[in-house]
């Protein structure tokens, strides 16, 4: 069971995520988040010493959430193609059910690197997520389904594609629901990465 302080931290993270998504990162202040949670600003600082630290903790929270989902897929006894489909489905589902998470990742984490420079060097804050993606690739190559290549060329293709689709969805440019693209996107990604 999570202790009280941890539980409160998660409440703050989820509230901040919503506010950042609706009002924007720079327009949302710590007092705004405190007010929304009916907490005093002073008490907020007991949990997060600064907005930058809160920002880093949020990205770690998202990484742990997505990493856990990916791990469940990685541990299933299914083909790499099937795993590819499940990862696409999971990512799009998260974008629908918790749009603020993917939104934060794309619009705040990737677009405001200066905020994360000191606390999230390299892949430090997205370690859980990247680790599972690496395992998906490694196991795909090891069993002969995927072609051996540089990790980042494969990673960019996969995550760039998914991120791009969610971004288009967020901009209301996509004519169809994200789920309707799962089949084609799975086919495209798998074909691009496949050893065949």
């Amino acid at each position: 069971m999570l202790d009280k302080k941890q539980l409160k931290k998660e409440q703050i993270i989820e509230c901040a995520l919503e506010l950042f998504a609706s009002r924007g990162f720079y327009s949302t202040t710590i007092p705004d988040i405190a007010k929304s949670l009916k907490m005093s600003v002073g008490n907020m600082y007991n949990y997060f010493k600064s907005k930058d630290i809160l920002a880093s903790e949020i990205i770690k929270y998202i990484s742990v959430y997505l990493g856990k989902k990916l791990r469940e897929i990685n541990e299933e006894d299914i083909s790499t193609k099937e795993k590819t489909r499940k990862i696409v489905e999971m990512y799009f589902k998260t974008a629908s059910v918790k749009p603020e998470m993917i939104d934060y990742f794309l619009r705040i984490y990737l677009s405001n690197r200066e905020v994360f420079r000191d606390t999230c060097e390299g892949m430090l804050c997205v370690n859980e997520f990247v680790t599972e993606i690496m395992i998906y690739f490694e196991e795909g190559v090891r069993c002969g389904d995927l072609r051996e290549q540089d990790f980042f060329s494969a990673f960019g293709l996969f995550m760039g594609y998914l991120g791009g689709m969610v971004f288009l969805k967020g901009e209301d440019i996509l004519p169809k629901d994200l789920n309707e693209y799962v089949e084609d996107i799975t086919y495209n990604i798998y074909k691009a990465l496949s050893s065949q």
């Binding site: 680790t131 690739f137 051996e148 540089d150």
Partner: protein, 293 residues
């Protein structure tokens, strides 16, 4: 007068590399006061190989160097028959080197069902099953002379050596070659800007080093008392393992940037998590030459 322990050094399909390594033992005079070779293929000894195969000569320890095949003969007798004959009378049998233990490089030649005494790589061979309790495996290409000599002294002094699943004494094989490597800092922070023969950089990530998953004391009991492969700037080639020799010994097999063989006992997820964290930091000191001048 002290009783010398009588040793038969039997050479099977071998390059005599373990013999050469043994000659580098620094306390040879002392050793020869305590042990006597009734036969050795290179050292002058009391008996000829012809005598060994035609008579039953008293012997305490049988050392086997080289891979074993029923078809391979010494003095017109199958090596298997010679082993059978002497194994009954000796107190202990020691397989000296990776060929005698697992088949090694001669197994790779494909010559007539060649293997080690009890193992064909990792697989158990039953030909000499009854000798399992008597056998100690000293794998290595070659075996470090101190490992061989200290094992013989343990036999002489009736010290029971704890052994691993391949009958290798844990005293020497419970460690990995990574243990004691002077490049451990480079391993920890994933710095592999290595050039062969130079002092800097870890060779695990790109240059094929097998030290983190190879059992042996190379960085604990140094070669010629001064150095080891990895300290000198050459990757560990995993010569004590059943899989020796693998292919492409100077490059690390990777699947999308992840080494196919990870440090022994380390889960892939754990490895990647740690690697992801350390990779995030750039340690300037480890990027530079150790001696700038």
């Amino acid at each position: 007068m002290k009783t010398k322990m009588k040793v038969l050094w039997l050479s099977a399909i071998s390059c005599n590399g373990n013999t050469h390594s043994f000659f580098n033992y620094s306390q040879m005079e002392q050793f020869l006061e305590d042990f006597e070779f009734i036969y050795h293929p290179v050292i002058d000894s009391k008996y000829l190989l012809q005598d060994i195969v035609s008579q039953d000569i008293e012997c305490d320890v049988l050392l086997i160097e080289g891979a074993i095949s029923k078809e391979f003969k010494r003095a017109d007798l199958s090596i298997v028959d010679i082993i059978q004959r002497y194994s009954k009378r000796v107190k202990k049998i020691v397989t000296v080197g990776t060929c005698a233990t697992f088949g090694g490089i001669f197994r790779e030649s494909g010559y007539e069902k060649t293997s080690g005494l009890h193992f064909d790589q990792e697989k158990r061979v039953d030909t000499f099953k009854s000798l399992l309790d008597k056998t100690i495996s000293l794998s290595g290409c070659p075996v470090h002379p101190e490992v061989l000599v200290n094992t013989l002294y343990a036999i002489k002094k009736d010290i029971t050596l704890k052994v691993d699943e391949f009958l290798r004494p844990k005293e020497f094989y419970a460690y990995t070659v990574h243990n004691g490597c002077t490049r451990n800092e480079y391993f920890e922070y994933k710095v592999d800007n290595h050039n062969f023969g130079e002092l800097e950089g870890c060779m695990f990530y790109d240059h094929g080093c097998q030290a983190p998953f190879t059992h042996g004391s190379c960085n604990k009991i140094l070669w010629n008392e001064v150095n080891s492969k990895t300290r000198a700037g050459l990757p560990c080639m995993g010569c004590t393992e059943p899989s020796f020799p693998r292919q492409n010994l100077f490059s690390t097999k990777k699947n999308m940037a992840i080494p196919e063989h990870l440090p022994v006992g380390v889960n892939k997820r754990v490895y990647l998590t740690l690697a992801g964290i350390t990779k995030a930091f750039k340690i300037d000191r480890l990027e530079k030459k150790l001696f700038d001048d």
